[in-house]
């Protein structure tokens, strides 16, 4: 009976065994690590089409309007608050009254029908999150939401994944600010962030909250 395999089959066999291991490793890395961290999975950096291309950049950095002018409940409630159309009309009944771009806002105001914004920063429903406690403990808007003051169109800056939450919950001193600087988009720490942060963690009695039930309650 003739040889079934040629001599080259040895090389192919070895290569396929080791190569297979490498391939399996690469696939494992893709499945476990890379794919869930991709913006495809977590929506990071994605700009969505909105009914009106509202520019946070223009309204905050450009005009100097405080975050809380529109997001009125951020200091006292879990939800920061999406402003009612009446808040837009505070100014826009007088300014840009003929702009076609703002017609959906005027129409909503006339017909009392809500504008259907596409939510950008959306945590999974199995995560408890409360804005007010973060603001009260020195976490600035800009730490989680990024430089919103430089976003002509809003996008999700952070991954919003658990490892990202835990980074701060484990080491809050890396991120906390004085309470007076929460809404200041130009804030820079005086000295090193770690030194300032450590002092604030002590002053504000900030605990490293890493128990599962802190967020999954």
């Amino acid at each position: 009976m003739a040889q079934l395999f040629s001599r080259t089959a040895n090389t192919i066999a070895k290569f396929s065994i080791y190569g297979g291991a490498v391939l399996a490793g690469a696939l494992g890395w893709l499945v476990i690590s890379a794919a869930p961290r991709s913006s495809y999975a977590n929506g990071q950096g994605v700009v969505y089409k909105q009914p009106v291309p509202f520019s946070h950049d223009h309204h905050t950095a450009g005009l100097g309007i405080d975050c809380r002018y529109c997001h009125t409940s951020v200091e006292e409630a879990a939800f920061a608050g999406i402003p009612p159309i009446a808040t837009c009309m505070n100014c826009h009944k007088n300014i840009w009254t003929n702009a076609q771009l703002l017609e959906p806002i005027r129409e909503a105001f006339r017909t009392e029908t809500p504008v259907q914004w596409r939510r950008v920063n959306d945590l999974p429903d199995f995560v408890y999150f409360n804005h007010s406690i973060h603001v009260a403990k020195g976490v600035s808007c800009f730490v989680c939401h990024g430089e919103v003051n430089k976003m002509p169109l809003l996008y999700q800056q952070a991954s919003l994944q658990m490892e990202w939450c835990l980074d701060c919950h484990r080491n809050p001193e890396k991120y906390v600010r004085p309470r007076s600087e929460i809404f200041n988009w130009d804030y820079q720490p005086v000295g090193s962030q770690l030194e300032v942060g450590k002092k604030l963690v002590a002053d504000y009695h900030i605990q490293s909250m890493t128990n599962c039930s802190t967020c999954h309650r």
Partner: protein, 242 residues
């Protein structure tokens, strides 16, 4: 009756390592990698987030309006003066209601809220030339005008609550306590531009006297500048379109 299961046998045959099936398996693994990116049911539980849309109601929102006339607990507003700025006699209150203690904390709160909600139009110094006015909004009130200097504090509360002219009501954005704090802070702003030398603490009085001595005589346009609010002339009315 013997059970025949030809389908099973073909399925098993698929699992044998044939060239095509390995490729299919590899594809499946790769596909599952991308499947992890899909939102799962637990991400969007069958409950409404604040303001989430709902097909149940005509206007498409899950947030419902309370029945007209509903009074939430603690929101009966029995203390009419506190919520209207007017006393029982229909006259404007001349002081912040006694329920609130006017101290530095309240004034700081007022400053904070003023800078958030009022400064876009009235500017941080209260001269009515805020950024929104400079971008074309109707001229906002100047707190350093004679009319507003002589207005009662209850009047400021009422304007914040019900609006005035082109100014909308801020009752929905600023709660009543904070509106009183802002009204008190307006008095601080007015005082800051219209204080008599004799009313200053002694150390400040000396400083102010020195500064006044060092400063040249104010020119004809002093009223439009930062230092001119103490003058009786109105602040320049022209708006700056940029």
């Amino acid at each position: 009756m013997p059970v025949r299961c030809p389908k099973l046998s073909t399925d098993l045959a698929l699992l044998r390592p044939r060239s095509g099936s390995w490729a299919a398996a590899a594809l499946l693994v790769v596909a599952s990698a991308f499947a992890t990116g899909c939102r799962q049911d637990m991400h969007d539980a069958p409950r409404y987030d604040p303001y989430e849309k709902s097909p149940l109601f005509a206007n498409g929102t899950s947030a419902r309006e309370p029945v007209p006339g509903t009074v939430a607990r603690g929101h009966l507003h029995e203390d009419a003066a506190f919520y209207t700025g007017k006393g029982a006699d229909g006259q404007w209150l001349t002081t912040v209601p006694a329920k609130l203690k006017v101290d530095e904390k309240l004034l700081r709160r007022g400053q904070d809220r003023f800078n958030i909600f009022c400064s876009p139009c009235h500017s941080r110094v209260g001269d009515g030339n805020g950024m929104i006015v400079r971008r074309g909004y109707k001229q906002a009130g100047n707190f350093h005008s004679d009319r507003l200097r002589s207005s009662q504090i209850g009047y400021f509360f009422d304007v914040m609550t019900n609006g005035f002219g082109q100014m909308p009501s801020y009752a929905a954005q600023v709660r009543a306590e904070d509106r009183w704090a802002i009204a008190a802070y307006i008095r601080v702003l007015q005082f800051s531009q219209h204080a008599k030398l004799a009313e200053l603490p002694s150390e400040l009085r000396q400083e102010a006297a020195n500064a006044a001595a060092a400063e040249p005589e104010p020119g004809p346009h002093a009223g439009a500048g930062w230092g001119g609010f103490g003058e009786q002339q109105p602040v320049a009315k022209e708006t700056h379109h940029e």
